[in-house]
């Protein structure tokens, strides 16, 4: 038989109601009766207080494929997962699932605090759809994977939240699905455990499981899924290559931000080299100057500008403001412009960087909320250096020798390798 494992979603629409679902028995009983009678308001008409949580979403995932779904909060990700897992039904469209479907959603949801770890393993295994003695056979593996063996006979109410999540994931990880839904849960546990989880998911895909991975963490989606769907306001904004999707997502988030920035306008922004000539590709360790002009439409009493650099996944590699650096702020009246020139040494690993201009008003209390807005100001690139890895450029000098008894091999002389660009 052809391996037709997978999910197809074709034009999925799902509506919800705002506010209390039913004010009174008078609304509710007729609505329920219509449901029971099979004439429910399932057809795709929007009622007065309804809104579409998902609109016309289509995709397909086949055996051995992993699809990432990213989007801001409220984009419809969880709704989509619930539709896929069968908890909710779509109002329009067709959804087809071929194969044993299992979901890694809220893995500790089935835990009962009064039961011990061992009892919960059996209970949760059953809730996740394992059969008969499947759990018993896998108990050792599950316990091993979770790393909480000494506490197996302790009620889980005495567990830390991390232990609970690890045990929950370990049970879930030992399901044998054909189709797997994953929601965010990889953010549980420490780094080592996360790596374990990632490896596990990759091995599942390799075994021919169709995976749908929902997250708003770009980095983990990029690690696991070659294809990604960007979901926003219930619509599929983009579906395709993950790198493309990331770009799409970042610009989407940014667009949402600039809409609120009416009180400040970024009039000019330049990326320059040490001699103030425009430049966008820098060697690691080179000096870069950023020049910005911002006009204010309202007044700010302790206004400060700052810069931040981020990698494409959105993780910030560096940021500072004039206030944090030396306490300098300016008093900005409506209509006035503020200028900033920043000098940075780009001790960065190779890659693309997004430069953000941060606008702060430190009159704001508490100070942590001082940021008024940030502009996505520009891009700069540092070509990759094959000799180095990591996220920063530390201008390394390495000296390697074999130690001999007469001490002649001791690394006390200065050895210049291929590094040392600043000195060179």
């Amino acid at each position: 038989m052809v391996n037709d494992v997978g999910i197809t979603a074709e034009g999925i629409w799902k509506k919800f109601q705002r506010g209390e679902i039913h004010d009174s028995l008078r609304d509710m009983i007729p609505a329920l009766l219509r449901q029971v009678g099979g004439r429910g308001p399932r057809s795709g008409e929007l009622g007065e207080r309804d809104f579409w949580a998902l609109r016309d979403v289509s995709f397909a995932v086949k055996a051995g494929e992993a699809l990432g779904i990213i989007g801001p909060n409220g984009a419809g990700k969880s709704t989509l997962l619930k539709l896929l897992s069968g908890i909710l039904r779509p109002n329009r469209g067709r959804l087809q699932i071929n194969g044993r479907l299992r979901a890694l959603i809220e893995v500790a949801a089935g835990f009962h605090p009064d039961l011990t770890g061992r009892e919960n393993v059996f209970l949760n295994g059953a809730i996740l759809g394992m059969r008969g003695n499947e759990v018993a056979q896998k108990l050792d593996l599950i316990v091993d994977f979770s790393g909480i063996e000494p506490f197996l006979d302790t009620p889980v109410k005495r567990y830390s939240s991390g232990m609970m999540a690890r045990l929950g994931f370990s049970v879930a990880a030992h399901m044998e699905p054909d189709v797997l839904l994953v929601d965010e849960i990889l953010s549980v546990g420490d780094l080592a455990f996360q790596k374990k989880c990632h490896d596990h998911m990759r091995s599942l895909t390799a075994q021919g499981v169709a995976v749908v991975f929902v997250s708003h963490n770009l980095a983990s989606v990029a690690q696991l899924c070659p294809y990604t769907m960007v979901l926003a306001e219930g619509r599929s904004q983009f579906l395709g290559d993950t790198v493309e999707a990331e770009r799409h997502y970042v610009s989407l988030v940014r667009a949402a931000r600039t809409q609120t920035q009416v009180s400040l306008v970024l009039e000019d922004f330049e990326i320059l080299d040490e001699e103030r000539r425009p430049k966008s590709v820098f060697r690691a360790g080179e000096v870069c100057r950023l020049r910005a002009t911002v006009r204010a439409n309202s007044s700010f009493s302790q206004f400060s500008l700052g810069v931040s650099l981020a990698v494409p996944s959105g993780d910030e590699v560096f940021h500072t403001t004039s206030y944090r650096l030396d306490g300098s702020t300016v008093d900005l009246e409506a209509g006035q412009t503020a200028m900033l020139e920043a000098r940075l040494i780009l001790n960065l690993a190779g890659g693309d960087y997004t430069v953000f201009l941060q606008c702060h008003d430190y009159a704001e209390v508490p100070r942590k909320r001082s940021e008024i807005c940030r502009f996505d100001a520009g891009r700069l690139q540092v070509p990759a250096i094959p000799e180095y890895g990591g996220v920063a450029f530390l201008d390394p000098v390495l000296d390697l020798a074999v130690r001999t008894d007469d001490g002649s091999g001791s690394p006390d002389r200065e050895l210049r390798g291929s590094g040392g660009m600043l000195q060179g």
Binding site: I87, G99, A109, E119
Partner: protein, 329 residues
């Protein structure tokens, strides 16, 4: 790797993907159970094709998820006996209280009518106390079964019927302990088992069906209306006065008996008492010296009809509304 994610166009879909209808599912056997197609518009592939199919689907689901049912029942049983003062005494606590109250009521009645209190009625009380305690306990636990597991209902898919049914099964475990205790005690109350006692078995089955059906309805209703739990609690508290637990329907005279026996639980409880205590064959009518019809074989049909009816309605309604639970809870 310039592979694009395959998004089948609507017309192309059927070439790559098999559309499986429930009827095909049934034919293809268990492996095909793992195929699910949801089509929003009502159509041949929709789940709501036939009302009776709800029951067939429930049986299939329960078979598939029997391990979950077992684990949830085990959980409910364990939780009752963990960190608990009473432990297994709990299983006979409620029946004992019922028997105690019954003795008080009957003693007062005997005193007022100037008769001698007959200790033989204790066996009848004990016999009825266990099914009644089973019904009350099951419905009480089931009413909170969906709402109390809100985490599971909104997050994880499994047939939701499992939750109220496991609550009923956990209560059945308690009642089974009580019944065992009763079987040990009965000979000391002067009751010998006869062939007629076997009638208790089909009547117990009726009780089980009736209880499961009611449990499904109550659990479902409490999900949509949170006050159902309180209404149910009040009804169950006073229900003992409208159900022949403390007394026999025949005490109310001819018409009173008929009215009393309208309560679906009445023929079940009274039938069990007549069969076990009096050794009466339930296929024959029983008329007492005053001419009151204490038992008619039609009561068997009546009880059975209610049991099947409530079970069918409960399953069908629950099944239809199941996928709204996560939205309305």
């Amino acid at each position: 790797m310039a592979r694009n994610l395959p998004i089948p166009a609507p017309g192309v879909l059927s070439d790559e993907w098999t559309i499986v209808t429930p009827r095909q599912l049934a034919r293809a056997g268990p492996s095909a159970r793992d195929r699910k197609t949801y089509v929003a518009e009502t159509g041949p592939a929709g789940r709501r094709s036939h009302p009776l199919s709800a029951i067939a689907e429930l049986v299939g689901d329960l078979r598939e998820y029997r391990y979950l049912l077992y684990q949830l029942t085990l959980r409910d049983i364990k939780l009752r006996y963990k960190q608990a003062v009473m432990g297994f005494v709990w299983a006979i606590f409620m029946p004992l209280l019922i028997v105690g109250s019954g003795v008080l009521v009957r003693y007062a009645m005997a005193y007022l009518s100037g008769e001698q209190f007959d200790p033989a009625i204790i066996s009848g009380l004990a016999l009825k106390s266990i099914p009644w305690a089973f019904f009350v306990g099951s419905i009480q636990f089931a009413s909170g079964a969906l709402v109390g597991n809100i985490n599971l209902v909104t997050k994880i898919y499994f047939p939701r019927e499992v939750l109220p049914i496991s609550a009923t099964l956990a209560q059945a475990f308690d009642s089974a302990i009580g019944a065992l205790a009763l079987v040990v005690v009965l000979p000391f109350l002067g009751i010998g088992l006869s062939a007629a006692s076997l009638w208790a078995l089909p009547l117990t089955l009726c009780l089980a069906l009736f209880t499961v059906g009611t449990a499904l309805l109550v659990a479902c209703a409490n999900l949509f209306f949170r006050d159902v739990k309180y209404i149910v609690r009040v009804l169950l508290t006073f229900g003992i006065f409208f159900t022949p637990v403390f007394f026999e329907p025949a005490m109310f005279g001819s018409i009173g008996t008929q009215l009393m026996m309208l309560n679906p639980l009445a023929p079940i409880l009274e039938g069990i008492r007549l069969a076990v205590v009096e050794g009466h064959d339930l296929l024959r009518s029983l008329v007492d010296p005053r001419g009151v019809v204490v038992w008619s074989p039609w009561y068997l049909a009546y009880a059975g009809g209610w049991a099947l009816g409530i079970a069918a309605v409960g399953v069908a309604l629950f099944h239809r509304l199941e996928f709204l639970f996560a939205e309305y809870i």
